[in-house]
Symmetry: C2
Subunit: 161 residues, 2 copies
DNA sequence: ATCAGTGCAAAACATTTGCAGCATG
DNA sequence: CATGCTGCAAATGTTTTGCACTGAT
């Protein structure tokens, strides 16, 4: 079977995740619901974490609007089932993103302390180092979160500062 | 019990930090005030990060009580002057701890997702790896924060899962 | 027909802000 | 004695919850 190195490789991964989420939810005894599906479909297509309000806003402009409370409820369910990760990068708001099995697409975040922009990055060696530390400590480590704070190009060094 | 490596050295480091904080505040044009001093003295003696409410509570039992708003205001001032670091480890609350110059006492955190306990840890290699990543990314990195999530000894694997 | 899923509004939090009075320099 | 510092209470913003209604099975 010929490989299909589509530019939509990410799209494929997205629908794989959405399907997996649907399966896990069904297994866990959940019914299918419009709000939940809308949140899943939105998260499936995101390259990085969104806040609950960003999700609500994005859906408000979509075919299926979802009440804020439902956004939070769905995100909580998905987090429990380890289908999404919650991260906190400051400003007291939580962000959520799809969690893929086997650490696929696993990444961390650069956060601009000025404008609040969140940018993902990956690093193999960093993962290995973290894994080593995780084994070393007297603690049952289930996951990790790394945030680099600083200034993004737009804010940091405008040109001559 | 969390690591308590060298009580004496820590005490010494504590007063050094408190003095440095006093100096920096004076330089920045701040007056001396009871609330601010109480928060500084408390933070100086802590081995790990405290939340604003924990600080308020700890001070309530002390000689100098401090109103919640003042706790937040003082913490904000100290953060601006880079005398304390703010970290967010989940549950939507911020925690604050003394920040020492030259990366001394620099550490990261294990967070129990069950009971919320926060335990500090250090790792030299992890710091080196992070520094390398910080240089690699197209971003002016000013600091970093690493959180390992999981279960602490008291919560994780109580046999009767 | 049942009971999970959802929306709305109110509640529960952490955090910030306005203002009046106290205290430092 | 002017102005920064502080406490109190109210405001703000995010997240949670109670309840009635809608919709999936």
């Amino acid at each position: 079977m010929p490989q299909t190195p589509h530019p939509d490789a990410e799209q494929a991964g997205a629908s794989v995740w959405a399907q997996r989420a649907a399966g896990r939810l069904a297994d866990a005894g959940y019914r299918r619901g419009g709000a939940r599906q809308a949140v899943i479909d939105l998260l499936a297509g995101q390259p990085c974490a969104l806040s609950a309000l960003e999700i609500e806003e994005a859906l408000r402009a979509s075919a299926r609007q979802v009440a804020r409370a439902s956004v939070y409820r769905v995100l909580d369910e998905l987090e429990q089932l380890k289908l999404v990760t919650r991260i906190e990068v400051g400003q007291g708001i939580s962000r959520y993103e799809a969690l893929h099995p086997h650490g696929a697409h696993h990444h961390h975040h650069l956060v601009c302390d000025d404008c609040g922009k969140v940018i993902p990055f990956e690093d193999e060696e960093l993962e290995r180092t973290i894994d080593r530390v995780a084994r070393r400590v007297a603690f049952d480590v289930a996951g990790h979160e790394i945030v680099l704070h600083g200034s993004c190009g737009d804010c940091g060094t405008p040109d001559a500062a």
